[in-house]
């Protein structure tokens, strides 16, 4: 009798842990650090919930959502029409929730004397039209381009907003994550790279001008929040349908002042308070 009770107890215990819901989050490498921090904090507050976070790029996350292999997809770019349609064909209804803000910083090596660039110059550099630093006011050295692979949301966003959908130069070396881009630029005197601001440690903070006449803005918490930094974007979580239960609790916590503070602690930009409240699931 005792043994049966023990076994039944164990089975129930494991069952309840399983029922407590295993949440998978996949996608953007830009967001992955934030996702992991959120998961950590949430699991501390709610022991019993298990959240697994992994990266792979926004494109990978979206593909996973469409294929039904993840609960939440992290993406640093909005889903494209094509992807929406593909999801619907497979019976998935993507539901978008903006969870944080981010600016795309341009990284330069500490030793590079250039202090600011206009968006037009940035486009010229990354499309391969401008190939030497002397054409933008620096010394006579070849510009070494570093970028992301084409499954990256950061790659897609940069292409859309800075390159206006033109192709990247063929010489752009592709690296598997913003951390790798930062690492490469920090080791290469004449390199240039781009990526989420949260990753900009060990390289120069760099100011971007909207055009020749406007002021050069540094990517900081305030400038991204108030929209004055020219290359800023929202970071998204995508669900299959409107989230309920565990997922709803998670996303509402993320959008709460507590969750947004966690974002700030890891150098991401929190959403303005009213927008965060608006995004919560009722």
């Amino acid at each position: 009798m005792k043994r049966i009770a023990l076994i039944a107890g164990l089975v129930l215990a494991t069952f309840s842990i399983a029922l407590a819901g295993n949440i998978t989050i996949k996608g953007s490498d830009t967001l992955v650090r934030l996702g992991q921090k959120w998961a950590e904090e949430y699991m501390k507050k709610n022991p019993g919930s298990v959240i697994q976070v992994s990266g792979g790029g926004s494109g990978t996350g979206i593909a996973a959502l469409i294929n039904g292999t993840t609960d939440i997809c992290e993406s640093s770019r909005p889903m494209k029409e094509k992807e929406f349609k593909l999801a619907q064909d497979k019976g998935i209804t993507p539901h978008e929730v903006a969870v944080a803000l981010d600016g795309i910083a341009v990284f330069l090596n500490d030793k590079n004397p250039i202090a600011e660039l206009t968006l037009v110059q940035l486009k010229g550099i990354y499309t391969g039209v401008i190939t030497n630093w002397k054409d933008v006011g620096g010394p006579d050295r070849k510009i070494i381009l570093y970028g992301r692979e084409n499954n990256s949301g950061t790659y897609a966003f940069f292409k859309e907003h800075v390159l206006n959908e033109e192709d990247y130069a063929e010489q752009t070396q592709t690296l598997p994550g913003t951390a790798a881009v930062v690492n490469a630029v920090s080791k290469d005197e004449w390199g240039i790279g781009y990526g989420g601001i949260a990753w900009a440690k060990g390289v120069k903070d760099f100011a971007i001008k909207k055009d020749d006449t406007s002021q050069a803005i540094l990517p900081t918490m305030e400038s991204v929040s108030n929209g004055s930094y020219p290359i800023s974007r929202e970071l998204y979580w995508y669900f299959n349908g409107v989230p309920t239960g565990e997922l709803k609790a998670l996303v509402n916590w993320v959008l709460s002042p507590e969750g947004q503070k966690v974002a700030e602690e890891v150098d991401y930009i929190p959403l303005p308070k009213d927008i965060a409240e608006k995004n919560m699931i009722k």
Binding site: G56, G59, A63, K82, K142, E165, E170, Q171, K187
Partner: protein, 318 residues
């Protein structure tokens, strides 16, 4: 003979046992065949589907294309652009460049080590060197790639003043390190397999140890060394993680080894995760996979064939 006939019960057991083991061996063969069929099946639309051919046909993958009005035709790999470009030439060139650097780096070191270990080293040295080099084979390729990305690239740039930090030479040297154990093992075995009688004959004719090695043993072991090189080359062509991290992944066409490269394997690894299932891009990636499969299969088959011939020759059966 009658006394030795086995009992019927054990005969059945033996029959089943034999067939079971044969099945296992066959399973491996069938497995490889099925893998090839699956990969090739996903690449077939390139040859059969009209719509897919509009975007990525065999000729589009091989010849220069005019992608934009008024610009020159060129070879370009940019599948995720508004005008998708699927030229395989930059990728092929990248794969070959990395493999060449790897071979140039690995062969002298590995064959030199093999000659030293089998001919000149004392027993004590041999017992140390052989396991250590074979330990190198156990090094995960991602660790080598990481080492090349962080340490080797900077060291090479400081010594040689490369413009590009991540280039074919960087990836090639790391690849070479991965390939050395393969060449070393096969070459060393080949040299050890040379019969003592050959060496004795040379000594009897008055040769010193140096002459014995280079005029007698090395030529006899040459097919084996060649097999090792061929196997190493096959590994260098197919290796993914090292080139993914250390080569810069830029698909450019250039004769210079100091510029970035993009290889077939790195392309598949980097792009397959996000590609839309069933799209032309997807088909092309599987086509590249088929190519890699065939390349490495043929190369490894060649290596094994040479090795077999060597064994037969040394045993006096050819």
């Amino acid at each position: 003979m009658d006394k030795y006939r086995f009992k019927p019960k054990s005969r059945i057991r033996e029959f089943i046992g034999e067939k079971f083991i044969a099945l296992n061996a066959l399973a491996a063969l069938i497995g490889i065949l099925l893998i090839f069929i699956f990969i090739f099946k996903e690449a077939v639309p390139i040859f059969s589907d009209r719509e897919v051919q509009e975007e990525a046909s065999l000729s589009k993958m091989l010849y220069k294309q005019v992608y934009y009005e008024g610009r020159e035709p060129k070879w370009s790999w940019q599948p995720n652009s508004t005008v998708p470009k699927y030229s395989l030439l930059p990728l092929f060139l990248g794969t070959i460049k990395a493999a060449i650097v790897a071979m140039l780096f690995a062969v002298p070191l590995a064959v030199g080590a093999a000659i030293y270990t089998s001919e000149f080293a004392s027993r004590r040295m041999r017992e140390i060197i052989k396991p250590v080099i074979e330990l190198l084979a156990g090094l995960p390729s991602v660790v080598l790639g990481f080492f090349a990305l962080v340490v080797l690239a900077t060291a090479l740039q400081k010594t040689f003043g490369f413009t590009y930090r991540l280039n074919a030479i960087n990836a090639g040297i790391a690849l070479g390190i991965a390939v050395i154990p393969i060449i070393f093992t096969v070459a060393e075995d080949a040299m050890n397999a040379v019969p003592k009688s050959l060496r004795d004959a040379a000594v009897a004719l008055g040769a010193n140890p140096w002459q014995v090695s280079f005029t007698m043993v090395l030529p006899a072991a040459l097919p084996g060394i060649a097999a090792g090189v061929v196997l190493g080359f096959g590994r260098a062509i197919g290796e993914t993680m090292i080139v993914l991290m250390a080569s810069g992944n830029a698909a450019i066409i250039s004769a210079s080894f100091t510029e970035s490269i993009r290889t077939f394997s790195a392309t598949i690894a980097a792009e397959l995760a996000e590609v839309v299932f069933g799209s032309p891009h997807y088909n092309v990636l599987f086509f590249i996979g088929t190519l890699l499969f065939i390349f490495t299969f043929v190369i490894n088959l060649g290596g094994d064939f040479i090795l077999n011939r060597l064994k037969k020759k040394l045993q006096g059966r050819s």
